[in-house]
């Protein structure tokens, strides 16, 4: 089957990561009281973005290597 799941996985989590990072940068710091003062949207958004990009990179690498 010619369908690499890493591609949609990478797309989804890169998007989620990007949304959370942007939201973390523009949101009111007061909402982070409940998360013990950590801007978890920014921090965890970066983690998601990194995961998403790695998945995309793996998927694209596999596609390029296919004859």
């Amino acid at each position: 089957m010619n369908f690499d799941l890493r591609l949609p996985l990478g797309m989804l989590f890169s998007l989620f990561g990007a949304i959370l990072v942007v939201y973390g940068l523009v949101s009111d710091p007061a909402i982070y009281v409940r998360s013990l003062g950590f801007n978890v949207n920014l921090d965890w958004g970066l983690v998601l973005l990194a995961f998403g990009l790695v998945m995309l990179w793996l998927a694209l690498k596999a596609r390029r290597n296919r004859p």
Binding site: M1, N2, F3, L5, P8, L9, M11, L12, F13, L15, F16, I19, L20, Y23, G24, S27, I31, Y32, R34, S35, L36, F38, V40, N41, W44, G45, V47, L48, F51
Partner: protein, 573 residues
Amino acid sequence: MPHPIQLGGIDYAILLLYFLFVLGIGWALKRHMKSSADFFLSGRSIPAWITGLAFLSANLGAQEVIGMGASGAQYGIITSHFYWIGAVPAMVFLGIFMMPFYYGSKARSVPEYLKLRFDEKTRGLNAISFAVMTLFSSGISLYALALLLQTLLGWNFTFSIWISATIVLAYICLGGLTSAIYNEVLQFFMIVFGFAPLAWLGLRDAGGWSGLKVRLVGVATSHHFAPGTWTESWRHMGSASANPLGVEWFGLVMGLGFVLSFGYWCTDFLVVQRAMAANSMSAARRTPIIAAFPKMLFPFIVILPGMIAVGLMQDHHGGFTLPAMADGSPNYNLVMPMMLGHYLPSGLLGLGFTALMASFMSGMAGNVTAFNTVWTYDIYQSYVAPAKSDAHYLLVGRLATVFGVVLSVGVAYLATQFGNIMNLLQLVFAFVNAPLFATFLLGMFWRRANGHGAFFGLLLGTIAAAVHHGLTLPAGEAAGPMKGGWLGCVVHTYPSAMAQNFWTALFAWTTCMAVTIAVSLATAQNKSDDELRGLVYSLTAKPAAANEPWYQKPITLGVVVLAATLALNLIFA
């Protein structure tokens, strides 16, 4: 009345984006669905890491995330036995010893294996009880999701049911089992990424593991247990009265660790179907073992938040409370979603909530895909309309999906009317499942076991479970169809319902084992050795040492995961 959790615009945006992706995957897979084998078996073409994560995710439904969080609060770290004793060993056993027969036999479903190995009546019994059971599980999953959305967010119950059912229906009809499996993998990552920050923040708030230990001393002593009961998994298993589960180590290891766990993980088509979709024998064998690695670590994201929550409640000034149930006691089933609301700000909250909804839906989708396969191959093709074209069965499979989802919706509404009858049905299904592992064990490893033996073993095993339940009671309960003791006299009282449940399973399994052996020896073998080749251990060529590198061998992976699980048991003993 304000609802306990408020989602913002950003949270809804994440929710919407996720479900668009889910439907998009179904759409992208549509053009690959050309034959019934594509639809029901994914054409046996999926790599092991995907089937492995799907294997785990199919079971990661409502009961896992909601139920394990609740148990973490009610019983503490002892809940980890459901993973480290009650899952990982059985998953490794399935991969190493049983998968060669499932995958190698070319059976398309678990009931079909029973037909090849035993006879038609054994398959019929299993196929019909399994089909009914999956529909009820799927409906109950749907009901629980709608109830949760209604309680926490104030969503309309009917709207929640129909929107969830429609999404599941759409992606299964489009992409069949492949679509369900791919979405299960997405959901696996959603659960990990949605809940890990919760566990991390909660643990930090509690002052790390050592801080949590101190907090939970008060919880244990207020329930009149030894101080470490909530944070030590083995030290209080010596007697049933020393721990909140009400089970001693023997009942735990034999009842949960052996009968219930092997019965579920090794014979339930819902999970076995994922491994059967793998692209090679080696990938099929690695599937459950790959799944065992994350399974081993899941207690840290699903049980830990429950433990942290009960610690916060003990403190009173943590500002964390659970909505009360009708009788005034805290509703532990809301521990996980309430903890999400407590620690996660808008943004991450959307991610966590989406993960929660996704877990309900994939639990439902798993049941529906198992149902449509068993219905089409084992009931329709066998008894209703044999020898039709493949296109005909593909169409029937799609119709069965619609039919299955609509019936699930019906079950969900039924559950709103008769909550107790639903629980009763689930109990009855436990009676059906408990003996099944004995049938498979004998079927795969004893060539003399025959059709009559298997059939009567299963039947009497189920009856034995019902009789045991009817003659015993958990301490402090009145006799009734739910609690037990309904046969008129109570011959034994267990310390808890959990203990009664484990011993019911043990009785069922032992009866099935004994009856199958006795009847098989008393009647002639109905299958020739040739027919049994590939289905029974002693008549099957050992899987050739495939040319896989050592780190991909099922045995290596199995030993590693078992050793790691043993280490976790020792660390948290």
